[in-house]
């Protein structure tokens, strides 16, 4: 197991390098010059511009520029935000806890919905429950997050007026009331993201359990006289989870896309809305840093998936 862990950890390094190469290539291929503004400013002579270019190494070979840029990125030196006039790392550190909270709780919600619903639907295939669940899952799968988000706002904030539709980080209440307010405003964003993920997970769980439940070892477990509940929970679900984890791991990068949209709809002050604001304000350092951070989060999630995979299926980690 420890060798497997080490191997998964080592796999992270080429992924980070690969992603940073992609990001840097995109940046380097992009037209436009960081000193364009200076070029059009008649008060700055051409020599000053050339000196500046030399100082920041803009005329160096591209490989050298990449190494320098990557070194700075890894050390957390992400530059200075043009728009908000503070360092990019402080800005991102301020925003990231909210995003992680929303994504984390929505993943939990998706898990809590998908696992029981998928298993129940698969143990009673083609029953009424199965058909309702499958239809709902397909609909949740087809409904993009911005549609569900607007729909929830329409129903719960505008018609029923139960929930606030603007997420506030600066709630003045204290004690229990503070928790309650946070809970109330988090319901809708978390529900939107959670059900979006949960819908596709339910489909995966259902088909994986259906595949496993017909196998001989399940029949053996039943004929030993084990209760149906024990058979399903202990024997079927664990094996069915192996393909599910793969599929979920492949699909997880999409949750960051969903998170960006959700944060934008509910004005959650996370790094997704930071990214959009930065794009609208032409704030290149922030955009690059947020994309880099999101990419690293995806790699982290892939690593967790690998580890979970090794735990679920010991054959993989002993190879």
């Amino acid at each position: 197991m420890s060798r497997y862990l080490l191997k998964s950890l080592l796999y992270v390094i080429p992924s980070v390098i690969g992603i940073s190469i992609v990001l840097f290539t995109v940046l380097a291929l992009a037209p436009g010059d960081p000193f364009e503004e200076l070029a059009t400013n008649p008060a700055i002579p051409a020599e000053v511009r050339a000196n500046l270019r030399e100082k920041f190494g803009l005329d160096d070979p591209i490989a050298l520029r990449y190494v320098r840029w990557f070194g700075a990125m890894v050390q957390g030196d992400w530059g200075f935000s043009f728009a908000s006039r503070i360092n990019v790392d402080t800005l991102i550190l301020q925003r990231i806890p909210v995003t992680l909270f929303v994504i984390g709780s929505s993943l939990l919600l998706a898990f809590l919905v998908a696992l029981p619903v998928g298993v129940l639907a698969a143990t009673r295939p083609y029953s009424v429950f199965d058909q309702v669940a499958s239809t709902l899952a397909l609909m949740g799968f087809a409904l993009p997050t911005f549609c569900t988000g607007l729909l929830l706002i329409l129903v719960f904030s505008i018609y029923l007026d139960w929930l606030p539709f603007v997420y506030r980080a600066d709630i003045s209440a204290t004690g229990w009331r503070w928790y309650w307010e946070h809970f109330r405003q988090a319901i809708m964003p978390v529900a939107v993201l959670g059900f979006f993920q949960g819908a596709s997970w339910t489909r995966y769980v259902r088909s994986a359990v259906l595949d496993v439940i017909r196998l001989d070892y399940v029949t053996t477990a039943r004929s030993k006289g084990l209760a149906e509940r024990v058979v399903v929970v202990k024997h079927v679900v664990r094996n069915a989870m192996i393909p599910v984890v793969t599929l979920v791991g492949l699909q997880l990068p999409a949750i960051f896309g969903g998170a960006i949209v959700t944060e934008q709809i509910f004005r959650v002050p996370g790094i997704g809305s930071l990214l959009i604001a930065a794009i609208l304000a032409n704030d290149t350092p922030v955009i690059m840093a947020v994309t880099f951070v999101l990419s690293c989060l995806v790699i982290l999630i892939n690593l967790l998936t690998d580890i979970l995979y090794g735990w679920l299926d010991p054959r993989i980690s002993y190879r």
Binding site: S15, G18, I19, V22, L23, V26, L27, A30, P31, G32, L138, M139, F141, A142, L143, P144, T145, F146, C147, L150, L151, I153, L154, I158, R203, Y204, S207, L210, D211, L250, P253, A254, F256, G257, I260, V261, Q264, I265, L275, I276, I279, L280, N282, I287, M288, V290, T291, L294, S295, L297, V298, I299, N302
Partner: protein
Amino acid sequence: MAGAVILALIAFLVLFGPLFWQVAINEIDFTARLKGPSWRHPFGTDDLGQDLFARMLYGGRISLAVGIAAMLIAVGVGTLVGAIAGISRGRVDAVLMWFTALFLSLPQLPLLLLMIYLFRDALKSIAGPEVGMFVLIVAVIGGFRWMPVARLVRAQFFSLREKEFVEAARALGATTTRTVTRHILPNSLGPVIVAGTIDVAAAIIAESTLSFLGLGFPPDIPTWGRILYDAKDYMDIATHWALFPGAAIFLTVLSITYIGDGLRDALDPRQVL
């Protein structure tokens, strides 16, 4: 089947609707602002009194065009990469699959946004705001969706390559190119068609997401996502404005997904999903 009927209806409306419903998409009428559905304006009007039905028909054309074009790019690139990897084993295969895995682990939407931010001005000045944006969006969406197709094609190639009919073709003296294009490729396209169908839906979602974030087509081009984006500030007083484009996206994507599911059941009876 229901999916195919709904999709055909939407496609028909979008393609031929503008011939019958000849209201300009940018005709401003301040006397009819934020009106609900009526006979003059079947889907109501927006905050400038522009007819939503005409705008939605126009936006539908763009959405469907983006979906299909992005799917073609994704399937094209995916088939090419998968075919090369599948036929050439060894080092080329390993490198190509490493690339595929790398692309799979990239967060799509942030990168989409990054590319659009970096390249939009350049392309706009080359090809004009509408065409430039269309090319950019289609290329970027397609460029981030070829990986599943590549994996599918590669897996198909691995199994088909060892089949007798391929061996027979080779024994008859067919070149590698001929075996691939005439014998292996046509037989590996079944799952690719299914994946392509799903890709159309995903591309439509991606395009409307971009427009919804205000970063897709320019504001004067009313795509479904853009209409939704404009509508979201008026949801309490003009619900219809947000409801119609939302329903359009939902119905289109749902029917395409249904068609994809049906195709998968028809083409691959073994899979239960």
